[in-house]
């Protein structure tokens, strides 16, 4: 009897094995159903760039139900796909190539035949990009974020319609909606970007051959980084800049003049205080007519390739802002308040598409802050303490106010500088170009701004940013022990120069 029962149970069990059985036994016994068909999300994010994906991860960590919509097909936005990351790959590898070609003999290294393999250079860049964008996708999954590949546009104040990349359409309803659609390249009027002869920064990251003559319109950070890459790889590069200084208006004038001299020595030509009047594509390249900014000195410049790097503008195309009545300012930025709310308070906005510098790390800070505002009602970003870095060689980095800012605002200041030519580590590295410059309040000695040209300035500025965020004085830095021999000692010595005197200069 017992054995018969056992056999019976075994038979029943086997009858419920799913493989090859009729549907009645393989069907799930318990069905989960939801109260509504379209589940309302706590946060819907339009844009999977640095601002969007960081907000998505942070919101996921805070236990919110999050949907992130991105139309590019890969996450990371401009920064990871066609900005900071690929350009750093090209800058690093082109610097190595240039150094092997021109900067080895006096170091006691004799190099044989050195060749450029542009295809491999680009492949290395693509691998870095792919690895990082896939990594971000993994992080979204890890934090329970729903990722929709498609174009999001507002249907109403709580609903975002998504045109899926794979075809079809869906919509998501959000209690909160975050606009993080980023920015796009500002075109030059009358010069159509074809990414072959007239290129944007995106095209400059994937040229198929080294142009003989490259003309860069715009001597800001993007223009100078790309000018460096292609100059190192063999192009004859000329940079045309409307302002009297390169590096953009945010760069300290003294630092700007210094880096211009250094880059000029590297072979880059500059035409500052010069405006581009117009240009036309010829069969062989592009002709660009320029004039002095004040007028009266017309000139025509020829180039095989022209890079348009006059800036970026907020991107809100196809977002359907008109459906919800959201307004933009005169430069196309979404207007927000101090808690990143638009005039419809549950719709917030961060990153390049709104106020502040168009920098990935600024967007990242805002992403964390906006989720904290939603979740806790309190967030923090210090807009007076956002570092900027130009990854040329040597690098240029700064944080806080420049000398011209302080002069303009009528704020008294004290200056301290220290050159890398007096720094032991820079001497041993044979990389002595550049300086550290500090600006501090003459009464309280509190730091007001830090400006660096030098190898690894982008890393060194982190110390300055931390000091500025904590409200340190230059003496605080000067009295902090720095390891010897390091480039960071130049930072300490500049602080000593600000409040007293440096030891080694």
């Amino acid at each position: 009897m017992l054995s018969q029962r056992l056999i019976g149970r075994t038979a029943v069990k086997s009858a419920f094995r799913p493989s090859g059985l009729p549907s009645i036994v393989s069907a799930p016994r318990w069905r989960r159903t939801y109260a509504t068909q379209a589940e309302e999300r706590d946060l819907v994010i339009i844009g999977g760039g640095v601002a969007g994906y960081v907000a998505a991860i942070k919101a996921g960590q805070e236990g919110m139900k999050v949907t992130c919509i991105e139309k590019r097909g890969t996450l990371g936005g401009t920064c990871l796909n066609v900005g900071c990351i690929p350009s750093k790959s090209l800058l690093n590898n082109s610097h190595l190539y240039h150094q092997v070609l021109h900067d080895t003999e006096h170091r006691g290294i004799e190099v044989g035949d050195v060749k450029l393999n542009l295809k491999q250079l680009m492949k290395a860049k693509d691998q870095a990009v792919t690895g990082l964008t896939k990594g971000v996708e993994f992080l979204l999954r890890k934090n329970g974020v729903e990722y929709l590949k498609g174009t999001g546009s507002f249907q109403d104040e709580h609903t975002v319609k998504v045109q899926l990349n794979d075809g079809g359409e869906t919509s998501v309803v959000g209690k909160n909606i975050l606009i993080a659609t980023g920015s796009e390249v500002t075109p030059f009027p009358g010069l159509e970007i074809d990414e072959k002869t007239v290129i944007s920064s995106t095209g400059a990251l994937s040229l198929e051959e080294v142009p003989k003559k490259l003309l860069v319109i715009g001597g800001g950070i993007i223009g100078l980084e790309m000018a460096s890459v292609w100059s190192r790889l063999g192009s004859d590069v000329t940079v045309v800049e409307f302002l009297d200084q390169i590096g953009g208006p945010g760069m300290d004038t003294e630092i700007s003049k210094n880096i211009q001299k250094i880059l000029k020595k590297q072979g880059i030509n500059f035409k500052t205080g010069t405006k581009v009047v117009n240009g036309e594509k010829t069969g062989e390249g592009v002709k660009i007519n320029v004039d002095s900014a004040k007028g009266g000195k017309p000139e025509t410049l020829d180039a095989d390739v022209v890079l348009v790097a006059i800036g970026r503008r907020p991107y809100t195309g196809g977002l359907g802002l008109e459906n919800i009545g959201l307004e933009l300012d005169e430069r196309g930025r979404v207007i927000i308040d101090s808690e990143y709310r638009t005039k419809i308070p549950h719709i917030r906005c961060i990153g390049d598409v709104t106020f502040g510098p168009m920098l990935a790390h600024k967007a990242e800070e805002e992403a964390v802050a906006v989720v904290e505002y939603i979740k806790k009602g309190y967030g923090h970003v210090n807009y007076g303490c956002i570092p900027a870095v130009m990854y040329t060689f040597p690098e240029v980095a700064w944080v806080g106010q420049s000398e011209q800012d302080l002069k303009k605002a009528g704020i008294k200041y004290r200056v301290g500088t220290f050159p890398f030519s007096a720094n032991s580590r820079a001497k041993t590295n044979l990389d002595t170009e550049g300086m550290v410059k500090m600006l501090a309040d003459p009464e309280t000695d509190r730091l007001l701004g830090i400006h660096i040209i030098g190898p690894n300035a982008g890393e060194m500025i982190a110390e300055g940013t931390l000091a500025l965020e904590y409200g340190a004085s230059s003496e605080d830095i000067a009295r902090t022990c720095h390891a010897h021999p390091t480039l960071a000692e130049a930072f300490k010595e500049a602080a000593m120069a600000t409040y007293s005197k440096p030891i080694h200069f």
Binding site: V12, A15, I24, I335, A472
Partner: protein, 133 residues
Amino acid sequence: MFATRVLRQASHHVERTPSIKFIGRRTTPASVDHSPQPHPASPTHSLPASFTSGSSHATFSVYRDHAQQFGPLRKTIKANAGIGAVAGSDLGPVAPPKGVFFDRNDLPARFHRQPLTAAEIEAIETGGAALFS
């Protein structure tokens, strides 16, 4: 007589106080003014009138009372708002009183056991043979 090292250090600290101060663990302020203020990076340092007189709500406070939002935007939820009007923690324990047991059938229908179909009963009784007959 020489001062000890401790005394020398102490006098040194009296002379110089670093600007950096340990401010302790960061906490969210007990009360935060959520009324719209211009963004610190706004070039105009002002907000358009639409921020204070929204199209559908006269004031921000009115909006807060009506807005659907995750998180602390909503100040209060009206008592007659149905489910969600009272915080879960204020409803008391969910455990049944002593000696009382919840039955599965007390739950909404979707949590009930699904009835067995005749074919399923047959399959069990015949040890699965009915599925192949």
